[in-house]
């Protein structure tokens, strides 16, 4: 048996094919799917791609940026409008991976991957799928489960554009630099009104099966000035609701020990 490769001209068509064939897999940039093929993954024998240029576009819509699911990390890094996401995009793999890795694929990458999705999460991202329906990324990730039937074909992701560059912070913690896999990654959107944090969003990757929001941390910061006291309060609740995984990169224990420290560093950096 060999692998069948199908190319569709629209997301709708791809969604239909995927829905009707449980042994088909959507192929974005292929950094993970191709690896599975090379390693003889038995769970699929068909790959489906979309050649609709729509998927590789990026546009500004008011205070939101809409990114096509097929936009690669390298393409995003060439776009000035996406400057606030450059740190996150640059943190994904090495140049070869970034050249192929797509934004859509990152939403599906298993922990400890998903650095870019972590950044999107802190920007109140919405996911737009083939039939045009929208879903908050938080809910999308909460329901993500590769073993539970066909996943929807993602066409776009829309995110908040931070009002100023100093409002959005990203930190990837890895042991091997610059290309290591995440021990964890953080993203924080810290808009300020009259020196008080408003609508705080903090997300963390590689600390749960998918990137997640740090709701207790957000609460500890909301309405406060970003200062030593509020950062201390945030670090104290950093682990609330998290049971970090043990994997080849780090143990659960290690992740728990260092998470508050790194969160504090991120927030302290944002304070200055």
């Amino acid at each position: 048996m060999s692998i069948n490769s199908l190319v569709c001209s629209s997301a709708t068509e791809a969604a239909r094919l995927l829905g009707s064939n449980p042994r088909a897999r959507y192929f974005g940039g292929g950094t993970l799917v191709m690896r599975a093929i090379n390693e003889g993954d038995q769970s699929f024998d068909t790959i489906i791609r979309i050649n609709d240029p729509e998927l590789t576009q990026m546009q500004i819509a008011g205070n939101r940026l809409v990114i096509g699911a097929g936009v690669t990390m390298s393409a995003l890094l060439r776009h000035r409008d996406a400057g606030f996401l450059h740190a996150a995009a640059r943190s994904v793999g090495g140049p070869a991976i970034r050249h192929m890795a797509t934004v859509g694929g990152n939403l599906f990458a298993q922990s400890p991957y998903g650095d870019f999705a972590t950044a999107l999460l802190a920007l109140d991202a919405e996911v737009i799928v083939a039939d045009g329906s929208r879903m908050a990324l938080v809910d999308f990730l909460a329901r993500r489960n590769p073993s539970s039937g066909p996943t929807p074909v993602v066409t776009q992701v829309s995110v908040n554009r931070p009002a100023s560059a100093g409002d959005f912070w990203f930190l990837k913690v890895s042991r091997v630099k610059p290309k290591g896999i995440s021990v964890m990654s953080f993203a924080a959107h810290l808009p300020r009104a009259a020196n008080q944090l408003q609508q705080v969003r903090v997300a963390v990757g590689a600390m749960a099966p998918t990137p997640v929001r740090m709701l207790s941390v957000e609460q500890a910061l909301e309405g406060h000035a970003l200062d030593a006291a509020s950062i201390e309060a945030a670090a104290r609740v950093a682990l609330e609701g998290l049971t970090p995984p043990t994997d080849a990169i780090a143990t659960s224990w290690y992740r728990s020990e260092v998470a508050p420290v790194h969160l504090k560093r991120l927030l302290t950096g944002a304070m200055r």
Binding site: M1, S2, I3, N38, E39, G40, Q42
Partner: protein, 595 residues
């Protein structure tokens, strides 16, 4: 930037070397940087087929039934191999040098003993077809209890990992379940030491992670020969092993090695060649068997895990007067090279330090983990890590600078090592002095003045009155009721007097071969199994090299004392050099200092 310290040992070296100290181009680098180095997988053949294995998903299980019928009917499949196809389905790597018993099947027969143990091999036109056919093989397993910890494996009720070694430990010298080293009397020395420092050290297995995974291609040649292009590091080991397990003449095998795409010891086990060559013999097609990355990580043998217990008796001035080891090499499910690692490790004890009382029991243990094998200095690296951590602990315990503590205890020319060889060509002191100087680590003048050339020998050359014992006979750890992993006794807890015996060995004269009348002592580590005979006891300690060391003193009554005295502190001892200056501190043959 390299700096050569030619001021050290200057009178012992001919400075006429052409290569050492000169920049030189490594011989394979041009091929590597121009992409022309030929690797085994660069050979292309018409009709190439691919081999993949069905592997055990369990740590330990009985195979009730194997059904390959569906796989055989799959598209592209040429042949499915099971244990029945292997002519001699049991081997051990070192059998070629008569060390150890054949204990490892090429394909599992009746039982699997680690996750990844190969059970069935499929040969098909494409890798994907071979994998799909592997997925169609039905193996009915009865999952059995397993053991993953080396100390637990030595408990009486632990599951038997490897039927060839039912005690879960390699048999040493047909007598003991571990390798012994006895030198002096550690128990008496512990009793008189100012401080005891004890600790446990442990290392995990390490995978070599070569860029090129283990692999080979076997292809029929003319004249009834099979050519095998392989990544092996051990071409003739592979040739001999294949001839043995396939029961064919070596004359029919043409092995082609060449560039190894990353070895580090990870390509000495003959694992891919037997199946690829058998496949080629049975199908007539070229067969390629290459580990994928997951197999390389999970199945290819790593450096084994080790656990060490070290107990030191230390005087307040920093001299270590006794050192006791209990070590476990986790060999995984089959022997491979772990039996040798134990011996090599033992020969290295107690590290590069002169310690007058040393005792060690080291076990080669079977567990239901991936079989371990060679990796860069295996047998030594693990215990060196333990020893050097221990040295820091000792320094802390006596409040000494850790470098000075090492300088104080470092061996010097003329000292007697625990395995009864005179230390020669020592340079540890000089190395540490230079390292301290280069790193700006302050050591006192007294220690800056030390030299490997002086202060050794004399009392430090004496082979002490040695306490021996017969603990840990093969099978004793499995005796019902034994609760202490290992030989059934912990040397630290006073050994039973009935079993303890004392022997004083006569040393062979330095630098001359052992006289035929004095067989190697049973407990001294040697590179192959010596006959299980006891060295004749002698009551006269002899200092090797006595005639050439006029300043030394012989402690004539040491045989009657319970323990040898600790070596004197270097500052207060007379300089005695047991070794004549003869310009051959460095061996011209190996470019290293002679042993």
């Amino acid at each position: 930037m390299i700096e050569f310290r030619k001021d050290l040992f200057a009178d012992e070296r001919d400075d006429n070397l052409n290569e050492v100290g000169q920049p030189t181009r490594r011989q394979d680098i041009l091929g590597h940087v121009t992409g022309r180095s030929p690797f085994f997988d660069d050979h292309q053949f018409d009709g190439l087929t691919h081999l993949k294995c069905v592997r055990s998903p369990h740590h330990r299980a009985r195979i009730r039934h194997v059904d390959t019928s569906a796989a055989e009917r799959m598209p592209g499949v040429h042949r499915v191999l099971t244990e029945r196809d292997i002519p001699v389905n049991r081997n051990t790597l070192l059998a070629l040098i008569n060390f150890g018993k054949d204990d490892e099947p090429v394909l599992a027969s009746g039982q699997v003993n680690y996750v990844g143990d190969p059970v069935v091999a499929v040969i098909a036109d494409t890798e994907r077809q071979a994998r799909d056919a592997c997925a169609a093989v039905r193996v009915d397993y009865e999952v059995l209890p397993h053991v993953l910890d080396p100390e637990e494996a030595l408990l009486p009720d632990a599951p038997v990992v490897n039927e060839t070694y039912p005690n879960n430990s390699f048999d040493y010298h047909e007598k003991y379940d571990h390798q012994k080293l006895r030198f002096g009397d550690v128990q008496s020395a512990f009793a008189t030491a100012d401080k005891i420092v004890e600790a446990r050290y442990q290392m995990s297995p390490i995978e070599h992670a070569p860029t090129e995974t283990n692999g080979c291609i076997a292809v029929a040649e003319t004249n009834d020969r099979i050519a095998c292009y392989t990544s092996t590091q051990a071409l003739f080991f592979s040739l001999g092993t294949v001839a043995k397990v396939l029961d064919i003449s070596t004359a029919r095998l043409h092995f082609v090695g060449g560039t190894v795409g990353g070895g580090f010891g990870g390509k000495v086990d003959t694992v891919v060649e037997p199946l690829a060559i058998l496949g080629c013999l049975l199908t007539g097609r070229p067969v390629r068997f290459v580990y994928d990355r997951q197999e390389e990580m999970q199945v290819s043998s790593p450096r084994g895990a080790e656990r060490w217990y070290i107990k030191d008796g230390v005087m307040n001035d920093g001299r270590i007067v006794a050192r006791e080891f209990r070590g476990y090499f986790d060999g995984g499910a089959y022997t491979r090279l772990s039996s040798y690692a134990v011996i090599k490790g033992t020969a290295h004890l107690p590290g590069p330090y002169t310690i007058p009382n040393v005792s060690s029991n080291v076990y080669g243990v079977y567990t239901n983990r991936t079989p371990a094998s060679a990796m860069r200095g295996f047998g030594i690296t693990g215990v060196d890590f333990a020893i050097e951590c221990q040295m820091d602990r000792v320094a802390e315990a006596v409040g000494m600078d850790p470098v000075e503590l090492r300088l104080l205890n470092a061996y010097r020319d003329g000292d007697m090592k625990a395995h009864r060889r005179e230390a020669k060509n020592c340079a540890l002191i000089e190395c540490m002095q230079v390292a301290a100087e280069k790193s700006g680590w302050a050591i006192s003048d007294e220690f800056k003045k030390l030299s490997s050339l002086s202060g050794g020998g004399g009392e430090r050359a004496i082979i002490p009155h040695t306490v021996t014992d017969e603990h840990g006979k093969i099978g004793s750890s499995r005796a019902p009721g034994n609760t202490i992993p290992g030989s059934g006794y912990q040397p630290a807890a006073a050994p039973s007097l009935a079993a303890a015996a004392s022997t004083t060995y006569t040393a062979a004269p330095a630098a001359s071969p052992m006289p035929a009348s004095a067989p190697a002592p049973t407990h001294a580590p040697v590179s192959s199994q010596p006959p299980a005979t006891q060295a004749p006891p002698s009551r006269t300690p002899v200092r090797p090299g006595a005639s050439s060391a006029p300043g030394g003193t012989v402690n004539a009554d040491s045989a009657t004392r319970p323990a040898t005295p600790p070596p004197s502190a270097p500052a207060s001892r007379p300089a005695t050099s047991a070794r004549p200056r003869n310009n051959n501190r460095f061996s011209s043959l190996f470019g290293t200092r002679r042993r």
